[in-house]
């Protein structure tokens, strides 16, 4: 493998990391509040608003049922509006974020739903406001779950970013498709796949470490 190829692989890895991290950041930034709103608008002890909840449900389900590839194409005008272009690594962050936000929100909401209702009831009986219940009970008690949801989302973003790469998004996906597949460069194809596998492993390990460390500090 030429030195140029090695440099390209390194560059592609950084591009993938950039896409995954940026989209992961936006997923958390908007996904967590969305998860809280989804949960609170349904919960009779918090802020039950059935109509609003129903509307949000439809939006989340719709976005989640789009195949990522189609979503990316459908969002092209919006991407162009936001970042000035619909091609390239930075442009790919828009559809990646849009796909990840409802995804992570649903995962986090599922973790919230698993909390014992008694915890909320006890806080309510103590005179806690809905906001206090959310911050001091729901979020504090679901910390490990929130981390896990974020990890799953990051890993999903790695595979989505590879798909985005195949249509001009850059990164390891684009490398694998353009160099490896279309130009029959088998070593490049194999290396990119190995790099993607390694990336996923590292994210999972870091995530497990964070989740474990968190629950340890809670128990110490």
């Amino acid at each position: 493998m030429s030195e140029w190829m090695m440099m390209s692989l390194g560059h592609a890895t950084l591009e993938t990391l950039w896409m995954v991290c940026a989209a992961g950041f936006f997923a958390l930034l908007f996904g967590l509040p969305l998860a809280i709103i989804l949960y609170a608008t349904k919960h009779p002890r918090l802020w039950a608003r059935p109509i609003l909840h129903h509307i949000l449900e439809v939006i989340v389900n719709t976005l989640r049922s789009f195949p990522f590839f189609i979503l990316m194409i459908a969002l092209m005008p919006m991407t162009r509006l936001l970042v000035g272009t619909s091609i390239g690594t930075t442009a790919a962050i828009v559809p990646l974020s849009i796909a990840a936000i409802p995804f992570v929100a649903r995962l986090m909401e599922t973790h919230f739903n698993e909390l014992a209702d008694g915890l909320l009831e006890a806080a309510q009986a103590m005179g806690a406001t809905p906001w206090q219940i959310i911050t001091k009970v729901v979020l504090a008690e679901s910390c490990a779950g929130i981390i896990q949801a974020q990890i799953v989302t990051l890993i999903t973003l790695v595979s989505y970013s590879a798909m985005a790469g195949a249509v001009g998004g850059g990164g390891l996906g684009s490398m694998a498709f353009n160099e490896g597949y279309q130009r029959y460069n088998l070593p490049v194809l194999i290396v990119t796949v190995i790099l993607l596998i390694t990336l996923v492993q590292i994210i999972q390990m870091l995530g497990n470490y964070c989740a474990q460390r968190f629950s340890k500090t809670a128990k110490a």
Binding site: M126, K136, E141, C143, A220
Partner: protein
């Protein structure tokens, strides 16, 4: 409204919509609780006691009726005022409901954080509570490391931290073993006496009522079927639900072999009569059975007997066999027992 009472419920009903039909969880409940008392609400599961307890702090809003706590009309309060009022009403639960993200100290601090107390005040409040509940050396322990009894103590400390005037206990000892139950009940009694906190507890366990409740309310199918002083309710139970609870608790039932031979009416082949007697207070301390033998010349045989002490009053249950089938004589003995305040019932003939 009656300010002298701590809790007053006027004609409180609660219906749940179940599809097209509605289910009545509480049916026109009236009750009042005096300040500083311990009131026990007992009933089988589904009797509505949990709903009733939650109406007191409006975790459940009744469909109709009025609720007054310390003279406040609970249902007329704004959301903010209701939250303030709830800080006056501590509550503990069967499953403790402690936060696993916090240690013992932080769990107790939770109720104080909610009302915006500063760290110094919180510490000053928690120290004596740790002592009262015997958790001083556990302050930094995590919830996972505590036994059930210790968890309930944390929950009690958390409930008391805001200096409530009422403590609601939702099956607080039902998840605990008998010995731990005893220690928690002792603690509740101590809290009641030392801090003059009104306690309302619900339970399906007669032993809990027996030990701590001054006033007893028996619930069945959403209604209060019996209420009053503990000893009066147990000694003179008339409602079938109360009688069923007494039978379960004190096991004053007949041995099976007699149950099979028992006939409700006097038959030619039956020679003995079986009586069920309840002795309350003084009558439990008199040698009445010996007197029957001496006075009427009838041999007696005690088949089952239990003596209980409820709030310092004796309560005895007995299944008695009289070795006679003479109807006139039996009648005289029944009158003799009733004269001595024994509640007696003919079970049948064997």
């Amino acid at each position: 409204m009656a300010h002298a009472e701590m809790i007053v419920l006027n004609n409180v009903s609660k219906y749940y919509q179940q599809g097209s039909s509605s289910f009545c969880a509480l049916d026109a409940i009236n009750l009042s609780v005096e300040p500083g008392s311990i009131t026990g609400i007992i009933g089988h599961s589904g009797a509505g006691k949990s709903t009733l307890l939650r109406c007191i702090n409006c975790l459940e809003r009744p469909s109709t009726g009025q609720i007054f706590v310390a003279g406040e009309d609970m249902l007329a309060l704004s959301k903010a005022d209701l939250r303030k009022m709830r800080q006056q009403i501590g509550m503990i639960f069967q499953q403790f409901h402690l936060l696993s993200s916090r240690d013992v100290y932080q769990n107790i601090a939770f109720s104080l954080e909610i009302i915006g107390k500063d760290k110094k005040t919180i510490q000053a409040t928690i120290e004596p509570l740790l002592e009262l509940t015997g958790l001083t050396d556990k302050r930094h322990a995590h919830v996972d490391q505590l036994s059930g009894g210790q968890r309930q103590r944390v929950a009690i400390a958390r409930a008391l931290a805001t200096h409530p005037s009422i403590l609601l206990c939702d099956e607080a000892t039902s998840a605990l073993d008998p010995q731990t139950t005893q220690s928690i009940l002792h603690l509740l009694k101590e809290i009641n006496q030392r801090l003059n906190i009104t306690i309302v507890l619900i339970t399906h366990d007669m032993q809990v009522i027996k030990q701590v409740a001054q006033q007893v309310i028996v619930m069945d199918k959403g209604r209060i079927v019996e209420s009053g002083q503990a000893i009066a309710v147990f000694g003179h139970a008339t409602a079938p639900a109360t009688q069923a609870l007494i039978h379960e608790t004190f096991h004053d039932t007949m041995p099976d072999y007699l149950q099979l031979r028992l006939s409700p009416t006097l038959q030619p082949d039956k020679q003995h009569v079986l009586l069920h007697c309840i002795f309350v207070g003084e009558s439990a301390e008199k040698p009445l059975i010996a007197q029957i033998s001496a006075q009427y010349g009838v041999s007696t045989n005690i088949l089952e007997a239990h003596l209980e002490t409820i709030q310092a009053t004796r309560l005895g249950f007995m299944v008695l066999e009289l070795q006679t089938a003479n109807a006139a004589l039996i009648q005289q003995i029944l009158q003799f027992l009733q004269l001595h305040q024994v509640k007696v019932e003919v079970l049948g003939y064997v």
